[in-house]
């Protein structure tokens, strides 16, 4: 089980990786969304704001109305933000649940694929 602080540390690295990736910034330049993440085993919430492909902020808790809501275990969230986990595989097995429009689900997966290609 990952703690809230571990997930926030992972988010900090995720923000750097995403914002420094030119290819990803180009692909996501028209993507402005608010994302909520729920760690299902600890009931911790996290909010991330993306503006034109740039992660401008992240914080613990639920802030505002989201466009995307991701439910996963704290371990999976942590591994996903560190790039140690293929979210598609977990999603296909129903272990990560995403509530969003299909194009946003795709964009979310695209982030992992671009910054940590297999």
């Amino acid at each position: 089980m990952a703690t809230s602080q571990e997930i926030l540390d992972a988010l900090a690295d995720y923000q750097t990786q995403c914002n420094e990736n030119e290819r990803l910034r180009r692909m996501q330049r028209d993507w402005t969304k608010r994302l909520h993440f729920l760690a299902t085993d600890t009931s911790d919430w996290f909010t991330m704001d993306v503006v034109e492909g740039e992660i401008v902020s992240y914080a613990a808790g639920q802030v505002g109305e989201p466009d995307v809501v991701v439910h996963a275990t704290s371990e999976d969230l942590c591994d996903m933000f560190w790039g140690d986990l293929n979210p598609s595989r977990k999603y296909l097995r129903g272990e990560i649940i995403v509530k969003a429009a299909p194009e946003d689900v795709m964009r979310l997966d695209a982030i992992t694929m671009i910054i940590w290609p297999e």
Binding site: D9, A10, D13, R23, R26, M27, Q28, W31, R34, H36, L38, W45, Q62, E65, P66, D67, V68, V69, C78, D79, W82, G83, D84, N86, S88, R89, Y91, L92, R93, G94, I97, V98, K99, A100, A101, P102, E103, V105, M106, R107, D109, A110, M113, I114, E118
Partner: protein, 457 residues
Amino acid sequence: MSTLRRAVGLPTVVATSAGLALATVSLTANVQIGLSLPGASGWMAILVAGLISVMAAWCFAELVGLFPTAAGIKLFIEKAFGERAALIAATLYVGITVLIVGSEAYILANVLAFAFPGIPKALWVLAFLTVMALINMRGISLSGWAQDLTTYLMVLVIGGIALWALLKPGAPPIPEPFRLGSGLNLAQAIALGVFLYLGFEWVTPLAEEVTDIRLIPRGMLLGLGILALIYGLLHVGMATWVPKAELAGSPIPHVLFGQAALGRVGLLLVALVSTLASVTSFNAGLMTASRFLYAMARDAAAPRILAKLHPDWATPWVAILALYGLSAAMAVYVLRSSSYKLFIFLGAAIECMIFVLMAASVIRLRRRMPEAVRDFRVPGGRLVPWVVVGLYSLLFVLVFVPNPDQPADRPTQLGALGALVGAGLLIAAYVQWVVPVLRARLAATERAKRRRRPGAS
């Protein structure tokens, strides 16, 4: 609990369920259902097929309530019967749906060539497929309100034309609307009637966007009701206004009906509805299929190249191009052979097969996960899922049973059976021998990769 900023409500769920099933090829198939039945009585087979689809919809609803995800059919089967069965069934289902696109493009080309003579059918096919592929490549999908508008417009136009044609002064009397004919003919008509509803279950990915998961079963039921009503009205209208021999020999019976009942205005209105029906169903079909291929590639169940994303639009462009090529090849095949009926048999059979698998998954998962929270339960315990398994297994067989009253269909039925078995075996072999190789390669890459998470081994 977080509620999405732009959550989907009931009108959009209904519009998506009805709109995705309402394809041009369904309007043509509508006539095929009644060819072996007397007069206009085919509407009864359409209604019965719709009623029994309600039971299948309940099964889908229970599974969506259990796993509210767009991963849908593959995930349901995987949880019940394992990954191998899920990969085979889902790939077969998505693959055959893509093949049906060939018929869709062929029939739409016939509609447009009839409405606007002078432009070759092949050009219409190519233009339609290319435009749809480009729209998908750009990542443009119908927003909720656009789906609502197109579906309800199609329903109003088809229902309105059919009602007007049947009720207007001087309309011919409806021929034998309640005479059933032989048992085999009726049962086979019901089996083919299943094809008309193919796609209503594609609403299940909306589980990730709805305000309340219970909207999915409600929306599917209302969608099925709308489809049964307008398909029934259209069937009676066509059988009343156009001689059966003429309907039987034409790939565009609905256009002939529009013209017979309302002249040039009717023809153009039906052509408009056909185009809208093709655009909505094909766009959604291509989007679903390309994302399915992308997800399979990301999961090392398909070649990695299919997971390539467009650098500007974040769409799976290689998967879209592959499906575009397959659809175009199918459309050319249908254009050359005019064998669009093969895909109606194939579509009806695959839909029956998927319904059987969904009901069987409900039964299996009730045993495996009895305590899991279900937002919707099929009423009547296990009776309904078992009825669905039995009924749709029977209808599946009936799709291929030779009918003495329709000897011309026999080669088509055999062709459809051969295509289904061949595709099934090919996919099973792929899953058995190729997927493990792809998975082993991915596992080797992952083993070689250093974990980034601090403290992780």
